[in-house]
């Protein structure tokens, strides 16, 4: 269903906040401003990935294995919260139901979250956190590099801005997986266990639903299968450097993109959303 908003106060706010530059009405980019339901859902899923992983990383703050690690985890968390704000802000500008990014972040329940299952996995130990980061940041980096050339300028703009940050996340998680894999016996065992925990969520990153397929056809979204080989090769290279074996392939666990999550997400949302939900009239 296309989003055809009625003229409202919100439209004025949107106009003011609009990402200028979208070639609205130009014949060669007919889909550029068509933020229909599928596009909004896609943008929301990109925002939810960043939000939920940012929230997870922020749980480490003050508790990391060393001060320098604490700073780098907080830094990645901050980048991701910023990306989430941009993606969800864009989604909200084209979704009548939500006034702004905060409404999307704090006033949806589990079934409406579109993040992948990988990002909502608990931090576990530092090895599991780094396994999750490597698997996600490598995927996100390859995706955003391509999305930066998408036909929708607003989407391309956010992707181009985020890709630099994510390149650093990818590098950092690669370095830690190598250090831990090729460190001590204990760190190797923990790193292998962390990867084993996360491995079954990889296929979901490359799942292409009918809605996504349609957006790919329109040049709005990127088909993740186009970089799956590169992704697998990058992981294999990291594991080799880390002197680790790839975990055995496991039965894929899917569902996040359709709102069917792990049990972990409900708890994360209960914590994250508690204040705005308890005081719905309040502004902060």
């Amino acid at each position: 269903m296309p989003s055809l908003p009625t003229i409202s106060e919100k439209d004025e706010a949107r106009a003011a906040a609009s990402d200028a530059g979208a070639p609205e009405g130009s014949f060669d980019a007919p889909t550029a401003s068509a933020h229909d339901e599928a596009t909004i859902a896609y943008v929301t899923s990109l925002g939810d990935d960043a939000l939920i992983l940012g929230q997870r990383l922020s749980e480490w703050c003050g508790h990391a294995p060393a001060l320098e690690v604490d700073l780098s985890l907080a830094n990645m968390g901050l980048d991701l919260i910023g990306q989430a704000t941009n993606w969800l802000g864009l989604a909200a500008r084209h979704d009548e139901r939500y006034a702004n990014a905060d409404a999307l972040a704090f006033h949806r329940d589990v079934l409406d979250f579109r993040n992948c299952l990988l990002v909502e996995q608990p931090n576990g130990d530092f090895a599991q956190t780094m396994a999750r980061q490597l698997l996600f940041s490598t995927w996100q980096h390859l995706l955003l590099e391509r999305l930066a050339g998408a036909s929708d300028e607003a989407i391309a703009g956010i992707a181009a801005k985020s890709v630099k940050e994510v390149a650093y996340h990818r590098e950092l998680s690669h370095d830690w997986v190598v250090r831990l894999g090729d460190g001590t016996e204990e760190s190797k065992r923990r790193m292998a266990a962390g990867l084993d925990w996360c491995w079954r969520f990889i296929p979901e990153l490359f799942e292409v639903t009918e809605e996504l397929e349609a957006l790919v056809q329109r040049g709005i979204a990127v088909d993740p299968r186009s970089f799956e080989e590169e992704y697998r090769a990058a992981l294999a290279a990291t594991l080799e450097e880390a002197t680790l074996d790839a975990p055995a392939e496991q039965r894929p666990i899917l569902g996040g993109r359709r709102g069917h999550h792990s049990e972990h997400l409900g708890h994360l949302l209960a914590v994250m959303q508690y204040l705005p939900r308890t005081y719905p009239e309040a502004k902060w």
Binding site: L51, Q55, S58, E59, C61, G62, H63, A64, P65, A66, L67, E68, V69, D70, L71, A74, N75, G77, L78, I81, G82, A84, T85, L88, A101, D102, A105, F106, D125, F126, V178, R179, L180, D182, G183, T184, E186, S187, R190, V271, M272, Y274, L275, P276, Y279, E281, A282, K283, W284
Partner: protein, 335 residues
């Protein structure tokens, strides 16, 4: 954040026997050192310095560093529950800044010949102190606003003069720290204004927060001058530039009008403007509580120390792995 020097347990701190230590040192060197400090010159790591100066500085800078690190915990308690994306980002950035301050300060202290591991060990064993303020719990979101406004506000009072501290690495770390603390204080006050002008529930949170944080904030400046035996020497050495009571008075004079502007009541029935001194008179601080918290008996002191020890112990395998990996890489290079 900053803690004033905290070894005020009514007995002389280790290394405070200035006469004995200085007595063993070359009087000409001591005299030259004192003259340089009196002339507001910076003392640098390779310069000669009296042993008592070195020890006092290590204690003061490491206490400051520990305060930054322990101080991440009360605020970190609310990062996952921040009520908007903007507040979450601000708080995460702020707590990250505190970690960064801890890092510069540990580095500054290391230039005096004590390793970060030794300092952290002293914190975890209870030998080293950190600011009393972080032994109070953050119960509501308004506590985060109160910490920014009052605790960082008090920290700035303490730190601005230390940008002129005699020890170069410390003074330079303070320049950077002060810039960030100023942002922290402003965001805290801004968050508090939003609450104070918000719904009845938000106003209640805001008033409750100032009720609980006001007195502990005044305690951050340390004991009264007549019970602060090291003040005179530290001022002579330019590692303390204003007395505890002077700084406390400045803080009260600046902060009370801010509370009034926000429509919040300062929880002190004895607070009144004194025209003659051009400042506020305020009530007696509960020094019994202060000394109890210094001794490690604060409301959440056990939780704070447990959190720090757990993070350190749980992370030991990561640090060991990083060292082992570096060693392997170095060995491969040689081979």
């Amino acid at each position: 954040m900053y803690t004033t020097e905290l070894d005020k347990q009514k007995q002389p701190p280790e290394g405070a026997n200035v006469t004995a230590i200085d007595g063993a040192e070359d009087p000409a060197l001591v005299e030259a050192f004192e003259a340089r400090v009196a002339a507001d010159e910076f003392i640098e790591p390779k310069d000669w310095m009296p042993e008592a100066y070195r020890k006092t500085l290590v204690r003061q800078i490491s206490q400051h560093a520990h305060s930054e690190i322990v101080g991440m915990l009360p605020e970190g308690n609310w990062i996952t529950r921040a009520p908007s994306l903007r507040r979450k980002a601000i708080l995460l950035a702020k707590v990250q800044d505190e970690g960064g301050h801890g890092l510069y300060l540990y580095c500054a202290a290391e230039t005096l010949g004590t390793s970060r591991e030794e300092m952290i060990e002293a914190l975890h064993s209870g030998k080293a102190k950190y600011s009393t303020i972080f032994n109070y719990p953050t119960l509501t979101w308004a506590d985060i606003a109160a910490i920014g406004w009052l605790v960082d506000g008090a920290a700035i009072m303490n730190q601005v003069p230390l940008q002129r501290a005699s020890y170069g690495p410390y003074a330079r770390a303070m320049v950077r720290v002060c810039k960030e603390e100023s942002f922290h204080q402003r965001q805290g006050y801004e968050a508090m204004l939003v609450l104070a002008n918000g719904t009845p529930e938000q106003k209640r949170m805001a008033q409750d927060a100032i009720n609980r944080w006001w007195w502990p904030s005044l305690m951050m400046f340390g004991p009264p001058d007549d019970q602060s035996p090291n003040t005179e020497r530290s001022m002579r050495w330019r590692i303390k530039r204003e007395t505890n009571d002077e700084l406390r008075q400045k803080f009260v004079d600046i902060t009370v009008p801010q509370a009034e502007f926000a429509g919040l009541t300062v929880p002190d029935p004895d607070l009144s403007w004194n025209e003659a001194k051009g400042g506020y008179d305020f009530g007696e601080i509960d020094w019994e509580e202060f000394y109890a918290v210094v001794r490690g008996e604060g409301p959440v002191a056990k939780e704070r120390m447990k959190a720090r020890r757990d993070a350190w112990e749980d992370g030991a395998w990561v640090r060991e792995a990083a060292d082992a990996h570096e060693a392997k890489k170095a060995a491969r290079k040689v081979a």
